[in-house]
């Protein structure tokens, strides 16, 4: 366990040092996969089905905000739909506009979820999303998850109807519109999935916020089970042909992924829980404090000491050309510091001491400033 905690601190350290590079590279890779997948699944516009265009657009997405990746992937899919049929593109545009106007106003920062959900559906891992968003998001994330599911089923409807639409002529415009709209509105599988995912997000969120021990574990297991139950009930009622084996395996994978998220986000040690009570003029406080699992991350500093040796023979005597000899010794010193997982404002309540560490490049010296926060100053940093 200590090894895992140290590994976590090392990963956090690497990420915090190299965030400037890691984030754009991750966005580039995600955008590349998304656009390649759209081209692979649809690919009706051959001009877009070009690795150069995918690379250029992915590069753009790497330094633009996440909302731009969502916009560009929507545009990509609309262009493919336009190449298939203008009516299909019109319906697609209307669906995207409706989602943006009605739903996306309230959760714009979850645009990553709307991009990831259809992708995970194609990789047969959709059940990870509602459990993960319940753990790290808010109940409003249910809206983004629902939008992601609708986008997936819209694209699948277009892909499945592509051959039929291709045979229809220009005079059957209304029939094409009707085909796509029926494919969305009469899609019971979509309705059941949206309901199941939305309820899962809300249930996971509510349970993990409870002040019980192991609330995150209970939340992820309960969420996966509720998700499975609602999908099975929907399958019984509406005959949606959901693969039970896939759903069960997907839910198990979802719980495993959620466990990893919990390890990075909320690693606490319930065995050292402390409870206390106190009062002030206005309230009586019942406080339960659960300590986080932290480990001292060992860091090494290398001190190079240059020693200069005077020549052994006195001046005037020949030394055989040896001259002054200088040697370098290096001393490795190990410093330990309490690694902090979260440096955001106002979240350091109750932490007694922390250290800032500055390394200067002059001669390998390192300077460590230790300061301790007193009880008074802790009160200053109220939780935001």
């Amino acid at each position: 366990m200590t090894g895992l905690l140290e590994l976590r601190e090392k990963i956090k350290l690497i990420y915090s040092k190299n965030e400037v590079f890691i984030l754009p590279i991750a966005k580039f890779l995600l955008a590349f996969i998304v656009f390649n997948t759209i081209n692979g699944q649809m690919g009706y516009m051959t001009r877009l089905d070009n690795i150069a265009i995918v690379l250029i657009v992915s590069l753009m997405c790497s330094f633009l905000p996440m909302g731009c990746m969502l916009l560009l992937s929507a545009l990509f899919s609309l262009l493919h739909m336009y190449a298939l049929s203008m009516e299909v593109a019109l319906v697609g545009l209307c669906v995207y506009l409706l989602m943006f106007l009605l739903f996306f106003r309230f959760s714009p920062k979850d645009s990553l979820v709307v991009v990831l959900t259809p992708l995970l559906f194609l990789f047969k891992l959709p059940y990870v999303i509602p459990v993960a968003m319940g753990l790290i998001g808010t109940p409003v994330s249910a809206v983004s998850v629902g939008c992601g599911v609708i986008v997936y089923y819209l694209l699948m409807t277009v892909v499945n109807s592509a051959s039929t639409i291709g045979t229809m002529g220009a005079e059957e415009a209304v029939a094409k519109i009707r085909l796509i709209i029926d494919g969305i509105l009469d899609n019971r599988a979509m309705l059941v999935t949206v309901t199941a995912f939305a309820i899962t997000v809300i249930v996971v969120y509510l349970i993990r916020r409870m002040a019980v021990d192991y609330s995150w574990t209970i939340a992820m297991v309960a969420g996966a089970m509720i998700d499975l139950v609602i999908l099975l009930i929907g399958d019984l009622l509406y005959d949606t042909n959901i693969s039970v084996l896939n759903a069960v395996l997907g839910s198990i994978v979802a719980v495993l992924v959620a466990k990893v998220i919990e390890f990075f986000r909320f690693c606490v040690d319930y065995s050292r829980t402390e409870k206390t009570q106190f009062e002030d003029d206005e309230y009586y406080y019942y406080v339960k404090a659960v300590p986080k699992m932290t480990v001292a991350a060992p860091t090494k500093t290398v001190k190079k000491i240059n020693t200069q040796r005077r020549p052994a023979a006195p001046a005037g005597r020949s030394t055989g050309g040896t001259g002054t000899r200088s040697t370098t010794r290096s001393v490795v010193t190990e410093h330990t510091s309490v690694a902090r997982g979260d440096d955001s404002y106002g979240r350091q309540k109750g932490q007694g001491a922390y250290s800032h560490r500055n390394e200067y490049a002059n001669g390998g010296r390192s300077v460590t400033i230790n300061s301790s926060m007193t009880e008074d100053s802790i009160e200053d940093y109220e939780d935001l």
Binding site: L97, L101, L102, R105, I181, L384
Partner: protein
């Protein structure tokens, strides 16, 4: 001489202003009634546009039948039912955005209360130094 306490407080306040404080400060600049009114107005506009899109799709879906029946149907009754649906959509969506915006405003104000308290503390630190 560097005042470590003050630097720590300023760093954390700057970090707050960069991240969640940005949104909260924008919200906090409005009075409650103004903020909610603006948001509800935007929601009503979005609901109107969305209703227009859905109505257009509905007409397109059964365009031929609609064109054939347009002279036979009760246009006033049809218009009345469309207006009722529009009214219900706007009222429901407006109420939903009222509830969400009220909650958001309360949360932002609570967060900003701590921020302003720390701002006063920082000001006091500067005054004691003088």
């Amino acid at each position: 001489m560097l005042n470590e306490k003050r630097i720590i407080l300023m760093t954390k306040m700057a970090s707050y202003e960069e991240k969640e404080g940005k949104k909260n400060l924008k919200i906090g600049n409005y009075f409650r009634s103004d903020y909610i009114a603006i948001q509800v107005l935007k929601s009503v506009l979005c609901a109107t546009i969305a209703f227009a899109i859905v109505f257009a799709l509905f007409i397109l879906y059964d365009f031929e039948t609609f064109m054939q029946d347009i002279y036979k149907m009760d246009l006033i009754g049809f218009a009345r039912s469309v207006l009722i649906y529009y009214g219900v959509t706007v009222v429901v969506y407006g109420s939903l955005s009222y509830i969400i915006c009220s909650y958001r405003y309360a949360k932002a104000k609570k967060s900003l209360k701590c921020y302003y308290h720390n701002l006063k503390k920082l000001n006091a630190m500067y005054n004691t130094r003088k």
